[in-house]
Symmetry: C2
Subunit: 201 residues, 2 copies
Amino acid sequence: MKKGFTLWFTGMSGSGKSTLAELVEKELLERGLNVEILDGDVIRTNLSKGLGFSQEDRDINIRRVGFVCNLLTRNGAIAIAACISPYKAIRDENRAMIGRFVEVYCQAPIEKLIERDPKGLYKKALAGEIKGFTGIDDPYEEPEKAEIVVNTAEETIEESVQKILRTLELMGHIDASDAQTEYSEEEEEEIKKRLADLGYI
Amino acid sequence: MKKGFTLWFTGMSGSGKSTLAELVEKELLERGLNVEILDGDVIRTNLSKGLGFSQEDRDINIRRVGFVCNLLTRNGAIAIAACISPYKAIRDENRAMIGRFVEVYCQAPIEKLIERDPKGLYKKALAGEIKGFTGIDDPYEEPEKAEIVVNTAEETIEESVQKILRTLELMGHIDASDAQTEYSEEEEEEIKKRLADLGYI
């Protein structure tokens, strides 16, 4: 039996974390694996009601998500976290605790996110109606060594999903699938180069 | 592979929840199973810092423990909760959510608990230095249909542990062990009668 691991999606609001997390979950479930999504909203309802969005409260929230991911991971499940998690130090703290940790940085230019703005949050933040909004008046600290970077402004959703799955296969976290892949040889090379640079392969 | 389940210890402070939980965990780990203890103190550090002991805060805390037990259980692990969890409604809410839920009521006369008082908490509560202390000035609502009742004032620790393991075996949650049992035929009959009364066997 494969060991558990944590797939940690990080990125600004609207960058595609939840969408990608759900599609990856669907694919992993179809492969018969145990998967749990810990989505920012679910966690704030079930584990962190009452916490706000100050740095301190965000840190507590992300530590809690990490605590639960760790429990799932060490019991053989796949934990998928999808939280903005803007501060590098706490993400790295979770990485160190969990060990089997794969970071997916959902990257997109802020202009694009402001343009998309499905929940109208950037509009409110730019108007000063929401304070401490990541990317507007609160920092987003980019991951330096994310195992996976998806550029959701340039790639299609299918390409991003395939990139994530292929990386998990190459890292040995999941078995290789013989399903048709949605990306090019060039993209395969890019995935392999990243994993080689990080010392995985 | 066996399915996961939640073993939920409830009872007043000093009734033996954590001690029994740790011994049962040890035994289950030795049998090669995936087990996590969610102890009241661990949870209050990792998931519920900032929550107090009002009924509302206790309810939130116990719901969080239930949320995590549910995640572990449905991913095939054994979650062991050891929390006072004094209110029946919330325990039953967790039972309904989790499904594969085995309640262990750690029973002992309050006089005995006051006599033991390893942390000196009853003394403080009786002196009015701690408010809202379960069993003193806050209610403990006894389970009506606990799968297991251990009377830690009368049974030895070994007897209680064996009663718990034997019940889990009879319920089909764990495989029967051929290890020597520490209890009598009469006790075996008592376990079976309880499970039959609850409609399990």
